[in-house]
Amino acid sequence: MAEAINNEAARHTSLEATSFYKAQCRVALRNCGVIDPESIDEYIAMDGYAALGKALTEMTPEQVIQEVIDSGLRGRGGGGFPTGKKWSFTAANKADQKYVVCNADEGDPGAFMDRSVLEGDPHCIIEAMELCGYATGATEGYVYVRAEYPIAVKRLTKAIEDAKAYGLLGKDIFGTGFNFDLHIRLGAGAFVCGEETALMTSIEGNRGEPRPRPPYPAVKGLFAKPTTENNVETFANVPQIILRGASFFNSMGTERSKGTKVFALGGKINNTGLVEVPMGTTLRQIVEDVGGGVPNGKKFKAAQTGGPSGGCIPASMIDIEIDYDNLVSQGAMMGSGGLIVMDEDTCMVDIAKFFLNFTVDESCGKCTPCRVGTRRLYEILEKITSGNGTLEDLDRMEELCKYIKDNSLCGLGQTAPNPVLSTYTRFKDEYIAHVVEKRCPAGVCKALMRITIDPDKCRGCTACARVCPVGAISGTVKQPHEIDQTKCIKCGACMEKCRFGAISKK
């Protein structure tokens, strides 16, 4: 009987008790998947717009800003600038018009937390932007959403209409005389528009090229007016901070990084998806407990954070407590929270080349170090992965990285060399293997790959020779076959065909 009850209990384990959820703590994602995102009533039932009511009726703008400063909230878009401080800069500037901008141009490959918040809890972004508007003296806001997120746009549009119908957005909100209007603008597929000044240039209807700073957006931002710009996830934390107080938020996290962070867990990992954990959670907890480890019994090699601006944390650093400063000290960065897990089959030079290819494509072309520098850097990586690299190339690569970092106009160029520098620092032996031994240890770089037939295992069935598209395999029936490396295009068709496991690549 006791056993039966125990079994019963085991079957009814709550979601929170599963290893995927146990380490998680949902603040920014608290309503996602819980409420109907198209129902303003459900949002209100979860204390929605209560923070706005509290701020407008009980708090001064200065108190709102102080609460956000005290909470220790830092920008979740990548840089980690203290949010409250940013608000205070805009508040300090006098102008006839100020703006609030929400950056929902989530472009880092592998990150989708902003999408999830916009699609799952659009009202919380509206509420947070109104709070920011009240605190900084802005009466108009823009949400810049990437066009690849049509559902987010649809739900946000409906949320804005509903909030206006309820008198929670528009004129004289809560009868306090506070006015706030909100617009949506769609991006059109330019990664650089995630950079704050480029984003504002794009909202104005131009090519989304970044502007030199100073003047900072707090002084001269959108339409040349003082502007506060925050990322979606940053905003998603704000209503809870105002409603529950700064101490609710700053009781979580590490000394200099408070609260929680959403990571988009992806790559070679069993449980993919969004996970929200307190700052300071170790990488091991995220990968092994929440993520359920690496599939197919492969070994964890590294985690890439921060997308094309970030870097890799190698397996030896798996016990690192993840927060802004720890990641930066390891040559990686928080970025918007993409966390891509890599196993032993991933070539680190290839990954660096992949990210560089991305930045070469996405560089807006305004400044030379980024436009030309990233392309030259890509060419060096191309040379290395095709087996033509030299040790001098590695030195030139390092020098070029430093030059691009120091001289680029905006964050895109300044961080573009990070994936190269970080993989080069952590996995120098792999670069050396490509250059000196002309070998790709992970077996990814095609030009360096060799497909060979083990003569002891080959039965001479000729299946491989018949499937080879370029006729690179020769041999007589019932005799071991051989691959002509000069003809082989490394397509792997022979490997799939061989029934005796005689063909391998290395």
Partner: protein
């Protein structure tokens, strides 16, 4: 990124022209809405032929050079028409790590075209795209609005066959 400019002659229907004029009329008071107008024009025509870019410039009272500048800056704007079925394969990090390049290679091989181009019968066009935000399903591709996830190169022929 260099964009291919279409050599196909531009033609529009009276319905398209009427929708287009309406978009211009609704937005011409605000020059900052240029991108929104271009997005709607692309919705109507499927791409932005130079004739339409010039009409947008006139309607919004901005230089044609600016419209062209914006059209070439953003990846979303197409200067040549799409195939009936537009395939985009995600090369975002998560998809790439899980082998989307091989999926893309297989599609190129099957259709005999390169990314950024269209089959001769205008049936399929192929593009490699940035993260579509479905990393949990990696590797992912989209054909028009249909999403295909957890792909392997072996799935390609079967999926394309559905569009024959």
């Amino acid at each position: 990124m260099v964009k291919k400019i279409s050599e196909v002659a531009f033609r529009d229907t009276p319905e398209q022209a009427a929708r287009f004029e309406k978009v211009i009329a609704e937005n011409k008071h605000d020059k900052s809405r240029l991108m929104a107008v271009m997005q709607e024009a692309q919705d109507i025509y499927g791409y932005l032929p130079s004739e339409i870019q010039i009409r947008i410039a006139e309607g919004m009272d901005v230089p044609a050079e600016k419209v062209y500048g914006v059209a070439t800056f953003y990846a979303q704007f197409a200067l040549s028409p799409k195939g009936k079925y537009a395939i985009s394969v995600c090369l975002g990090t998560a998809c790439y790590v899980k082998g989307s390049q091989q999926v893309l290679d297989k599609i190129c091989e099957t259709l005999g075209i390169e990314p950024g181009s269209c089959t001769a019968d205008a049936k399929f066009s192929l593009d490699a795209c940035r993260c579509v935000g479905a990393c949990g399903l990696a590797p992912v591709m989209m054909i028009n609005d249909e999403v295909y996830g957890r792909l392997s190169p072996d799935d390609v022929e079967g999926i394309l066959a559905k569009y024959e």
